[in-house]
Amino acid sequence: MGYEPQADFGTPEAKGAPVTLTIDGQSVTVPAGSTVMRAAAEANTFIPKLCATDSVKQFGSCRLCLVEIDGRRGTPASCTTPVEADMVVHTQTPRLQKLRKGVMELYISDHPLDCLTCAANGDCELQDQAGAVGLREVRYGYEGANHLDVSKDVSNPYFDFDPAKCIVCSRCVRACDEVQGTFALTIEGSGFGSKVSAGTGLDDFLSSECVSCGACVQACPTSTLQEKKVAEIGTPDRSVVTTCAYCGVGCTFRAEMRGEQLVRMVPWKDGKANRGHSCVKGRFAWGYAQHQDRITSPMIRERIDQPWREVSWEKALSHAASEIKRIQAKYGTRSTGGITSSRCTNEETFLVQKLVRAGFGNNNVDTCARVCHSPTGYGLKTTFGTSAGTQDFDSVMDADVILIIGANPTDAHPVFASRMKRRLREGAKLIIVDPRGIDLVRSPHIEAAHHLPLRPGTNVAVLTAMAHVIVTEGLADEAFIRERCDWDEYQDWAAFVSDPKRSPEAVEPLTKVPAEVLREAARLYATGGNGAIYYGLGVTEHSQGSSTVMAIANLAMATGNIGRPGVGVNPLRGQNNVQGACDMGSFPHELPGYRHISDTETRALFEGDWGVSLDSEPGMRIPNMLDAAVDGAFKAIYIQGEDILQSDPNTHHVAAGLAAMECVIVHDLFLNETANYAHIFLPGSTFLEKNGTFTNAERRIQLVRKVMTPMNGMEDWEVTQRLAQALGLDWNYTHPSQIMDEIARLTPSFAGVTFDRLDAEGSLQWPVNDKAPMGSPVMHIDGFVRGKGKFVVTDYVPTDEKTGPRYPLLLTTGRILSQYNVGAQTRRTENTAWHPEDRLEIHPVDAEDRGLRDGDWVRLASRSGETTLRALVTDRVAPGVVYTTFHHPATQANVVTSEYSDWATNCPEYKVTAVQVSASNGPTDWQEDYEALSERSRRIAHQEAAE
């Protein structure tokens, strides 16, 4: 479509009963609580305005939106005047015209008249309103005091702040407060001296609390806050709505384009996951898509110590197929496998698992959920019957008590965190269970009622102790349990948790959580109204990850916090399509829709559709594949969009497994770390270059729309199809919508999903079927999917990863706002301004004991390996606990992590590694050797040599 700015109704939508009034002779009906400005806009009458925008509350400062109302004196501001029944409003009268002209004249008298060379020319509300009010002259001249010479702040890598163009409408300040909830900006001074300030000593955006979410830039009506890309490229001439490829929130954006060039990503107001908001990654960090490191030609090599040779697609794919066939002939059908990508679309993921099952003839397919939310799948399927969260994001606005455990939403799921903070500012209570003092424990206008700073690895003990309090103090919702759950199982569980040895007092020595704090938290969750639990990888990435998920489900069922808005169990998914990848049958034991491969009826359904016979035995998980490779039994792997060498635990073992394979096929945007061990490289396409769907953490299926031609010539699903064809499979999809049709045909929870419906509805939350044709925002409303909710006894089993004299500290890992997972995308953007390296957070006491100062290089050693990085001395971590991120391959934090994993799913225990920290003066041997290996491995032979 051509370029149209998103509609701005001036003030937020209201929810009241219908009210009818007359505006400029036209009858208008809107909800009570609407403003006159909003009502007029709903009727396509756009009253001139500057300080109003519908993402923030009305402010009433610019005096441009004045109206006349029959029977009332004066000229009230339409943005602050609520509608009333039978009100008669006039928006255009000679009196109003004169007043507005006068207001605009004053604004323009202190504004640069450089419209023709201004980056916002043609996209400036001030310019538009000057035209709308008919301003033709400025009588005051420009010689008096003004702000035209104030210097520009260019410190932020993505946008500039030019105070000379500021009209001090406060939209940016209000957007930062109300939409983002960071409160980084303020209006400093008064009267003529009023100015927007980032509130720091340097008074620049980069050094301020600003998180670069872009809300202020979006709210700015002038070019004061302006994307650098718009200044560089020009204003967009078309836009395409698509879905972000970063975290599991699944924000929808308008990709605003000029020709084939992306100018900016603007959050889409109609997006139901993000409601018009964004974070620094989705809004700005898309430069990787055109980064010079992109590989756009297929490449092969015989051995990993050779340079790559660029070849044609035909040569690369026929070579890949030939190698797979050779290896299967020599080592057997089960010696091959594949890994699907949670960054790719549902359709692409579906095809990779289909390729493995129908083409390779085995079930050796797995996905990155193995290392993140596989325990969620296991735990929620066991207790509720469905491997997914129970709520939509909107549900948080009905929560009274929010319990966050093992998640850091402001860093990892920032757009949802902003919504959560809005609800907390409205009065909801907050409980945080986390070893670190994450931002939500205390930040502007937010303070947790209770923070339970547990020792890493003791989640189950803490949750069971909370259950102990709920049951023994008579706080359980017996009516709910009797109606909705298996009563006998509940009684067994209640007896188990009631044992005094599971009381808060009894477990305090091992959890380090003060018993009384835990008791208060349990009471609040059970009795504070709607209780909603949100959790992340601090729950799943433990040896008892699945038990913790089930313990959470137990708590929700015991208190009746399931099956309505405002409650529920909500896993905050890490990657954009990790929910979808799991839905699509990426696990080695399940076909799409979470149906076990051994189920004859399900298998027959797929066999009939695909025209092949399927292996009835579960396949290998990623760690099993690597073990089998080291044993010589697993020889070839096709990895789409996943960097297991950097993301998976115990890097030495991953490297050994990859090195033992005869054919490693990496299908990715970049020569990632895993590609150092690859024999065939198939260039991938970004989310901007493909069509398909992603499914976010709330089960919301959303369209991904191609906005530019793939640099490599093909979308990823086309590459997989070409590989399948080279293996002899008769696949002939011409568009991903046909793949979705097949998914819907074979998967009951997707039965009502088509691309046409997604286009029409904007999104659908599965299950979408005859019972729920419009999808299912909240699950388990009338009963659990499995029938009766299942209480599972979850005994605390300490991890075998023990601290001791050699390794006295516990390392836990996580991610930071500006970077994303292994950093393959964000490291190739300006986001490195905020996080150029991984740092080791260490408590001042532990640092002092070791003679370490902030910024020192330190050696981080565990039983698995060692690395070096710089220290960040902070009391965010407790004594005895250290923390780091894993965004930079130079650090290789996973050299240190152990091979211990969740008992049920093999999800690695990233969150608990016994380590020692000591002073260091340089990189480890491993880091130096690895850097040399990477350099050798990434050589690409010149074309002449290749031919």
Partner: protein, 80 residues
């Protein structure tokens, strides 16, 4: 740990986490879990380990694996 040691560790870990559901049901639960999630090679390796006279499996892990071996032999495994 080599692959065989890992499988023993995993089986013991499964048994230890499932055990609280009741000793009588533990063997069945261990068998069911392994039948649902382990690939054929892993099962063959652990059965071979038992056949070689293993002493490092916990009683409930061993009972579960023996039950699974019997079920597999008779084609009655819950996942197969």
């Amino acid at each position: 740990m080599n692959s065989e040691e890992k499988l023993v560790y995993m089986a013991n870990q499964i048994a230890r986490n499932i055990a609280p559901s009741g000793a009588g049901e533990a063997a069945e639960a261990v068998a069911d879990h392994i039948a649902h999630f382990w690939d054929p090679r892993m099962k063959q390796m652990i059965f071979a380990h038992i056949n070689a006279g293993s002493t490092d499996l916990s009683p409930s892990a061993l009972a579960g694996l023996k039950l699974l071996r019997t079920q597999d032999a008779s084609g009655q495994s819950s996942a197969g």
